[in-house]
């Protein structure tokens, strides 16, 4: 009258293996009791499992049922435990032979009709269950397959699953749709007319991993440019791909077919986003936020000045460490979040434009810049001015250079920098700049002149040198020359009032 079934629950982007223990007793009045810190959704398993068992024309035991979710000090979230609870009861009532569930783990939500429904976070759950063979709903097959490969077993209903486990039916094949590897449709740079500076900015950002701030009036194509960035980034390496898959799965974001996130994600949260939605957390299971979903790809913050300062500030940790550590009273989680940040902003509330055309009053302009300024603004290596393309450029036939050819240069530059530094240029520590990114005499003279004229800060100096290194890598130069430094300086727009401002 006792059964133990393996399953898993989610904390942040990690799965935790757990055991579902079911005990049946006719010594007391019939009833159902679940212990072991289930959350509200998890508690609903009683009703769903009972209806599903009855709908599958099986018997729900009219005895005292105790379900323990072990280890019992850890919070269990979501509906993924419906299936293991139902299976546990069926094993305990000897509908399913106990040896049939050896070496298997179960994940899935039950419909009242006995169907198996997909749940969020199947990828990390399956990963946590290795080397046990996971049994998942058909709808979760692609997520599970991305992590566990061929070992995954699927079923579409409780009735079918009981038939299989009782030895009356074979396991069904994994549906074919898992195998179609479709390439995501990423917009092409050929659609962008003119805007040489912004194009160059994108190329450099992709090649060196530099965070990019696009500064320009509304309608100048900042969003259009940012959306083309993923096409310039390499496909994810095996480790990042797996991490990103876990995150997508845990956040309930649909995974591409094949079950693995292989292309750089692009996330563009709205500026009204809350802290939790952007950074992750929450009271139940530490759901990953947009910053984590962008792991390995691009996080695009349009209208950056409109985000609340607290939310922007919270981005500093992932920008520095590549992870977000969320701590709550009950638990803490480390969520991977290594992304390329692209920010977009107007130069002032009215959108700016050529000097003399700004209509903003003094205070409004300063308040606007103050929201942007500070530590986050410092993290952008590239600050590129974007202006509306001219009519001629808009109407000119044929587009600009397509993504494919820019991408070739980006890949070559990335390979060069990795071979030399072991990392992307944006990550070169200041102390290693002289060794890894030496500047020739004339370039050094230009930097010196800029520093002396107070046009460049100390921090800006290091950033310009890293960007100049990437520009040199893009053209295949070994030493950073004057023209690379000059270009890097031009791609670092000075914000605010001019030095001669009165």
């Amino acid at each position: 009258m006792l059964a133990t079934i393996r399953s898993a629950t989610l904390l942040g982007v990690e799965g935790r293996a757990i055991c579902v223990e079911v005990h049946l007793s006719d010594a007391t009045l019939p009833g159902f009791q679940m212990v072991g810190l289930p959350d509200e959704v998890c508690r609903g398993a009683h009703a769903r499992a009972r209806a599903a068992v009855l709908s599958s024309r099986l018997v729900w035991p009219n005895v005292r049922i105790t379900v323990n979710l072990a280890p019992s000090d850890q919070r269990k979230v979501g509906s993924a435990l419906d299936l293991p609870i139902a299976i546990g009861i069926l094993v305990a009532t000897e509908v399913i032979p106990p040896e049939a569930v050896d070496g298997l783990a179960f994940i899935g939500e039950l419909g009242l009709d006995g169907s198996l429904r997909p749940v969020a976070g199947v990828a990390p759950l399956v990963a946590a269950l290795r080397p046990t063979t996971p049994v998942v709903p058909v709808g979760s097959a692609r997520e599970a397959h991305g992590v566990a490969g061929e070992a995954v077993k699927v079923a579409s209903s409780l009735h079918q699953l009981v038939g299989i486990l009782a030895g009356r039916e074979p396991w069904p094949p994994i549906p074919d749709e898992v195998w179609d590897l479709d390439e995501p449709v990423i917009p092409d740079l050929a659609d962008v007319r003119g805007q040489p500076a912004a194009r160059t900015g994108l190329e450099i950002a992709a090649a060196g991993g530099h965070h990019l701030l696009l500064v320009g009036p509304p309608g100048s194509g900042k969003t259009m440019l940012a959306q083309r960035m993923p096409g310039l980034l390499p496909t994810l390496d095996a480790e990042t791909s797996l991490e990103s898959t876990m995150i997508h799965s845990a956040a309930g974001v649909r995974l591409p077919s094949g079950g693995l996130v292989r292309y750089a994600p692009f996330r563009a949260p709205h500026h009204s986003s809350s802290m939790v939605s952007l950074i992750g957390g929450g009271s139940t299971f530490m759901r990953p936020g947009e910053a984590s979903i962008a792991h390995g790809g691009v996080l695009f913050l349009d209208e950056m000045g409109e985000f609340t300062p607290q939310v922007l500030d919270a981005l500093r940790q992932p920008l520095e460490e590549g992870v977000i550590r969320v701590a709550r009273a009950r638990a803490h989680a480390t969520l991977p979040a290594r992304f390329l940040l692209i920010g977009a902003t107007n130069p002032c509330p009215c959108g700016g434009g050529a000097p003399g055309s700004c209509e903003c009053d003094d205070g409004a302009r300063q308040r606007y810049l103050r929201r942007l300024s500070g530590p986050l603004l410092d993290r952008f290596d590239l600050r590129v001015g974007v202006q509306r393309p001219s009519v001629d450029e808009l109407l000119s036939p044929g587009g600009g250079e397509p993504t494919a050819s820019v991408r070739q240069r980006v890949m070559a530059a990335r390979a060069r920098s990795i071979a030399r530094n072991g990392m992307l240029n944006a990550q070169i520590p200041a102390s290693a700049l002289d060794a890894l990114a030496p500047v020739d005499t004339s370039g050094a003279a230009l930097l010196r002149a800029q520093l002396e004229a107070d046009l460049l800060t100390g921090r800006g100096y290091h950033r310009v040198r890293r960007v100049a290194r990437t520009i040199a890598d893009l053209v295949g130069a070994d030493t950073v020359g004057e023209e690379h430094v000059a270009a890097a300086l031009q791609l670092r727009v000075r914000l605010g009032v001019s030095r001669r401002a009165a």
Binding site: G194, Q195, P196, A197, A198, T200, V215, G216, P347, C348, G352, A354, P355, G356, S357, C358, E359, C360, D361, D362, V384, G385, V386, Q387, P389, S390, E393, L446, A449, Q450, A453, L455, I471, E482, E483, H484, V485, A486, A487, L489, Q490, V493, R494, L495, G496, V497, S498, R499, R500, A501, A502
Partner: protein, 363 residues
């Protein structure tokens, strides 16, 4: 208040305090105060007011006296011997003025230089140059000490350590510098020139006080010069006040694409005299400027020929990096080199992604 504390009419110091106190009466504008002061001395007027309102704050004159003393301010009122004679016949004169600095400057030649707060660097340069040239010709420059053109004009005057001095008319108490970034300039104008305000110490620069301030700028000037104004800029209020008083209005022309010069260009179309040079203003004042021979030597290294295409494009109108790359035809790093060289040699300056010329334009 007991009888012995009653202000004693006739004592000039007491008259001064009472005049200051009168400006703080609710609902008493400058025209009503003028009418009152034309009939009676400030102390009499104050006594009458206090007599009619037994619950009035009666130690106001003393408190203001203390504030003025600690801030080093003087007070002149309509009817007082030091009241500026240029204002005596004004249609809407200020009744009381708080002053800091040298009131005798109002006896010299005075030109107002006013304009937009959001000026282009060309506009700021023009204002600074005009201020400097007028100053060295011995003309005092009247302005509002605002951000942009106003501040630049006064900086120009102060730069030259010239016989011409700055005269600042402001819209807040003289101990409340606004905008704060101009606090240093404010201090300098008070020490080396003259600061005037209609408002008692401690009063904030409220919106309605700026147009009133502009009328005093116009009233104090022999010529009003506008350097960059928007089509609906506050400088145009000064212009209207000047027109009403028969003060000639002159304007510095700007590019038609420059929104900050819309107002000045409209003035020119309506018949204002164009100002291409400080000499034009000196002409209007019938001052001799033929001896002005101290042309400044441009110490900047001339641009390389290869950079001239970029420079000419920026001279044409402020340009973005995109526009410079588009018109030059060379790849971005080379254009960037040109910009860097021009910037280091002081020919151009950049802000918010735009490049503008600085200093005299190379022709």
């Amino acid at each position: 208040m007991s009888r012995r504390d009653q202000p004693c009419p006739g004592d000039p110091r007491v008259e001064e305090w009472c005049a200051a106190a009168l400006t703080l009466l609710d609902g008493w504008g400058s025209s009503r105060l003028c009418a009152l002061l034309d009939r009676s001395s400030p102390a009499e007027a104050w006594a009458a007011v206090v007599g009619r309102h037994p619950d009035a704050v009666t130690d106001l004159p003393e408190r203001l006296a203390e504030q003025c003393r600690s801030a080093g301010l003087g007070v002149v009122w309509r009817g007082s011997p030091s009241y500026p004679s240029v204002l005596t016949l004004d249609p809407r004169p200020p009744a009381v003025l708080f002053t800091r600095g040298d009131l005798s400057l109002l006896g010299g030649r005075r030109v107002a230089i006013v304009g937009t707060r959001n000026a282009t660097s060309a506009g700021r340069f023009a204002a600074t140059e005009l201020g400097r040239r007028l100053g060295s010709a011995g003309v005092h420059v009247v302005s509002g000490l605002a951000r942009g053109i106003d501040g630049c004009a006064h900086r120009g005057v102060l730069e030259a350590e010239s016989p011409g001095r700055p005269i600042g008319v402001v819209a807040s108490g003289l101990d409340v510098p606004y905008p704060r970034q101009n606090a240093g300039l404010w201090q300098q104008v008070g020490e080396q020139g003259l600061l005037l305000s209609e408002y008692a110490p401690g009063l904030e620069p409220l919106t309605y006080r700026f147009p009133a301030r502009n009328r005093i700028v116009a009233a104090l000037s022999e010529v009003v010069v506008v350097v960059e104004s928007r089509a609906k800029g506050g400088s145009l209020i000064t212009v209207n006040e000047a027109v009403e008083r028969g003060v000639p209005v002159m304007a510095v022309p700007g590019a038609t694409v420059n929104r900050a010069a819309d107002g000045t260009n409209l003035l020119l179309r309506d018949g204002a005299t164009p100002v291409l040079d400080a000499d034009d203003i000196l002409d209007a004042l019938s001052l001799d400027h033929s001896r002005e021979t101290t042309r400044r030597v441009d110490l900047r290294t001339r641009p390389f020929p290869i950079d001239m295409a970029v420079y000419r494009r920026i001279v044409e109108s402020p340009a973005s990096l995109d526009q410079l790359v588009a018109c030059d035809g060379r790849p971005l790093p080379e254009v960037a080199m040109s910009i860097a060289r021009l910037e280091m040699r002081g020919w151009v300056a950049g802000v918010d992604g735009w490049w503008e010329t600085t200093g005299d334009t190379l022709r």
